[in-house]
Symmetry: D2
Subunit: 373 residues, 4 copies
Amino acid sequence: MIAGVIGAAGYAGAELVRLLSGHKRVKALSLGSVSLEGGRIEGIYPNFLEKVSSPLVKPEEVIAASDVIFAALPHGVGEAYAKACLEKGVHFIDLSADFRFDDDEETFKAWYGKPYVHPELRKRSVYGLPELNRERIKSLAASGPAIIGNPGCYPTGASLGMLPALAKALAAEGTVIVDSASGVTGGGREPQRSFHFPECSDSVSPYKVGAHRHVPEISRNMREMAARYSGTAPSLVFTPHLAPMNRGILSTVYIPLKKEWQAAPGGSVSAPRPPSKEIEERAGEIRSLYAAFFKDEPFVRVLPPGVMASTGRVRQSNFCDISVNMDQGGSTLVVATAIDNMVKGAAGQAVQNMNILLGFDESEGLEAVPALF
Amino acid sequence: MIAGVIGAAGYAGAELVRLLSGHKRVKALSLGSVSLEGGRIEGIYPNFLEKVSSPLVKPEEVIAASDVIFAALPHGVGEAYAKACLEKGVHFIDLSADFRFDDDEETFKAWYGKPYVHPELRKRSVYGLPELNRERIKSLAASGPAIIGNPGCYPTGASLGMLPALAKALAAEGTVIVDSASGVTGGGREPQRSFHFPECSDSVSPYKVGAHRHVPEISRNMREMAARYSGTAPSLVFTPHLAPMNRGILSTVYIPLKKEWQAAPGGSVSAPRPPSKEIEERAGEIRSLYAAFFKDEPFVRVLPPGVMASTGRVRQSNFCDISVNMDQGGSTLVVATAIDNMVKGAAGQAVQNMNILLGFDESEGLEAVPALF
Amino acid sequence: MIAGVIGAAGYAGAELVRLLSGHKRVKALSLGSVSLEGGRIEGIYPNFLEKVSSPLVKPEEVIAASDVIFAALPHGVGEAYAKACLEKGVHFIDLSADFRFDDDEETFKAWYGKPYVHPELRKRSVYGLPELNRERIKSLAASGPAIIGNPGCYPTGASLGMLPALAKALAAEGTVIVDSASGVTGGGREPQRSFHFPECSDSVSPYKVGAHRHVPEISRNMREMAARYSGTAPSLVFTPHLAPMNRGILSTVYIPLKKEWQAAPGGSVSAPRPPSKEIEERAGEIRSLYAAFFKDEPFVRVLPPGVMASTGRVRQSNFCDISVNMDQGGSTLVVATAIDNMVKGAAGQAVQNMNILLGFDESEGLEAVPALF
Amino acid sequence: MIAGVIGAAGYAGAELVRLLSGHKRVKALSLGSVSLEGGRIEGIYPNFLEKVSSPLVKPEEVIAASDVIFAALPHGVGEAYAKACLEKGVHFIDLSADFRFDDDEETFKAWYGKPYVHPELRKRSVYGLPELNRERIKSLAASGPAIIGNPGCYPTGASLGMLPALAKALAAEGTVIVDSASGVTGGGREPQRSFHFPECSDSVSPYKVGAHRHVPEISRNMREMAARYSGTAPSLVFTPHLAPMNRGILSTVYIPLKKEWQAAPGGSVSAPRPPSKEIEERAGEIRSLYAAFFKDEPFVRVLPPGVMASTGRVRQSNFCDISVNMDQGGSTLVVATAIDNMVKGAAGQAVQNMNILLGFDESEGLEAVPALF
């Protein structure tokens, strides 16, 4: 099988190349770039020398040559390629936001400033968070060529951190707060002042407070998760931060608990005490519930008590690590999730979606043990 | 005037040495260390060579020689020195937690596992957050030798981020969430696996979730701030994270707003939209309120719209930078504060307290322009 | 086949576990630790959760259970295990220095401060730099169980940077200078002040100038390479530096050229000019010579003109990247080599040696494309 | 006195602003920018908020307003400003390379690709390395307005590392190798791919091998130093590297010693041994000679035995730290120097030059104790 990557010269595209080059079912790659057409992937990324050697061709040539297409393009430019793929009869896995909102064009327009070019394509598209939509992906693929709206990086970690809580109706009404820190690769390959080493190194800072485009995506997932399990979705506050590291997103998710899931506090509001035994036990109970919920998921690890999610421990892997704890007041669930933003947050999840679409082993090409450092 | 530092060989102690060596009113330093007595400060920290040269002597000698004493010691070991200072008639500025809880020994005991050694010392102690307690510090000093309970690093940034909101009664009942990321110097000078470069570099991770000793300190400050201005304090959820940088704490503080301070949302819960004009205006109003509140504070900068608090911009300085924004839902105030954990979060604030106690210009020794990088 | 790792809890040991767990010919692992016996590898390194699960047993049990043994132990403690392996009839791949000096016990003693415990073992040992000794390794393995003295991290990059120059007699008499910078994982897993994040982050510093234990190893390799090709070895000056990164060693190797290999300078000593056309051409010639020399080597990449060796481009891989240039004076060859110190500089090279010993494909288990970041 | 800075919006310019804002003799600043004219310095660098507030005006206005002018501009554009300053009768301190080569226009042209615009200005210019040219600077200033060619960052550390060896005729004929690693601020404020965080973080790499523009500057300094003390200059090989840190340059300088300065080797070439007692003693002798040479220099610290030069220990300061050692062979002096590239390597040295020109205390404005981290 030949896998095609359009936008192969960007960071997500190049990470796709790295992962697909080790995928046993992928016999060859066809790589495309709009802006660097005519170059070679190993010229742009010399780490590929002697491992991957390929010209960068026009997107049309990639589509013509390939049995499945990945697109790692800016938002709003890939719909024509999706259309071409459907017409050719091959799956299209899109890493942009174009297919993440299904038929909710209004929300897409409000946040991305563009209308859908071919709205009808959403009849053949599905949001590609396998832990939420695996069956939908499979059944869509069963009926013909499909489009995957591959999730955003922040929404992946944030949604997985909430899924069991919403599915099992632990969450009270109110507000879930997602506070995330991302590595700098999240900003892509193009040099910008914010990502200039002296400006971002040795510093942490929030950005786009209340205004990040992943707000509507996480929020939609929350409603979807709640609805799936007949609950109501809390509202969302989301703040991304830039952290001085290459890869990884750490999301700390604060979920207000329903009365029946709360535990006796460690002290009172006016005199908080360290977590009580009741809190430790309740946290353990919820941790077990999370572990049970994800027990068949190949890429979610609910961590044992005392081990905190850490981006350094999922490096280069498709894992989402989840640690489950409670605050000392006994009323808020504090879930931390760690992903590699380039793998589970982008290219790895796209490969996982390809595996599902094509009926491969879901872990094929994604078996890497997280690097120690 | 001679300033004494007990515990000068630790990171906070050495930072005190650095700051005090440039303080115009300090003519000489007397440096003490329990564990490294007999050594020299420039032997332990060669960055001091040709700038500061001093033996490390016994704490008793430091007290005998000095006109004001700083103690940067582990919790629970400095009370005897505080007592000796009061008896000698000199101020004692304590960077440990021993004097942060006033007469609430129960809370101290619950979190630090030790009783007060000399409970009566709290009659002469005050919590040294100048922005909250400047007048108390002055009036205590006016009546004789005083003890300062210098604030913890996280509580400094967290409390300053909430102070105007609680003082002006913006905050609804409910829960304030403080999500903080600290540089590794916060862990002190002793090598530990968590702070071993390969373990913490290029990674972000939470720790002590719901169980950090700064929970009761921040919570106490919240109640104090609310009470001072006749309000009620929200409850607190606090999560610290370790970030791969040397200095700095970035705290993102989520404050639920009272109805009258909320703004029309950017969309609804089920269809969030980018921040509305109303939200931008309300955020601007609250930002102005913060700026007005802190306008006479020498070390608090409320940042203009569009500039986010960033630890990299307060490096080596005593500033606390504050950025004020709202979430897209219009109901949560999202305040970010940045401090240098070693300066405003420890040694700089201690010097600020000395300046207040001794009637010096409050900025003396703390005029450093934040380093660009 | 079962592979055993003694010293699995250290960094090199854990990296062996990571690599071996993806090796197709390795059916199971047996992991041993002297100091952490009774623990589990995934307890110590939670990145292994759901990927590698194994108790840490006594070294004797590892030897009993395994078909090949790796030892990642401190210097001077593994000889008994080597002996036991020979007696059992299995290969022993030693990552310490114990078997790097063949029968030159005097040199080992002078630098490591210990005599050989079982000197006779050197009859069955070989220095495991495949690019130099592949045939010797094979022939030793052909005659029975063998011991590999797996090269040190610095000697690997330094020696590969010189090998063609010495083999092809480019080097003049005189002094070769090797100036290297290593990532902090080179210091191992045990916390030490030098590797404490605040002490080594954001800083570069030399250490053990003129006194590093890799001096005699590099020097021995130089003599060996020269002798192999009937030349004389230059003398060696070697300075290691610590750089603020996790993985990687960049070695810049300065080789004085014989007259016939020198090129017309870019200007004179007293008025140097940018590299002349002659220098560019001569550098190109020598680069081609290097490329030809290594053309069948699976893990050496001689980089094209304009691409400099960079540790970031060999991350997580077994490659040694080599860039070849000349100084503006036309008389010094400036070769830079980049390796991942944990892979080609330790565990990866050990696996490569195993593959050679056992007649596997030399790249098996080592196919990883270098990570982009 | 009013100090003017042209090019204040670049990194070196902004560092000048930071240093000058704390200089007691500087009553006001006038800041200029060609490309950002009309902006404000605290808008571009919010770390300046509430400390430095100034518009960025045209260079001509800066010159008109100021009593001394600093220019931190690209090479080849500042000569007209220098001329205007001489005409106005004020000193001009130039951080570009335009005035570093005195009347050797040929060398400047060969490396910078441009002729001198006003060659005659070199009659009033001097190379501003105070440790070499202090008296020349003073005597030039005594005769009227002067131009300072402020040294490059690498040449500062490299030259100071060699000065005593050349002055005292320790160096043999042959080649001095300077191997340097610089922090990323050395690349300036404009975003470029090489300085994009994901490309340079966690990696070390050489660049411009044999071709860096600082080659002729270091080489000229070597000849000057040798000539000054009637010696002959060795030739130079210089390789710069990029290291993942913000500030600092570590230069390791390899100086071949004359026979009479060599020491009995630690072993032979073919069997090197750890440094012999003779080597330790000789290194100590040369270290003392370095210390004596620099004993009146306010900004050079020759480190005690066992302490290595480290960029982390000169951070934010104008110090050049020097450690002196020998190789195990007894024939090469290995000197390491550490500077903060933005201070002693640029803005701090420029302020030092201003102090000399204007007869101020040479340390005024440069008293900062190096930051601990």
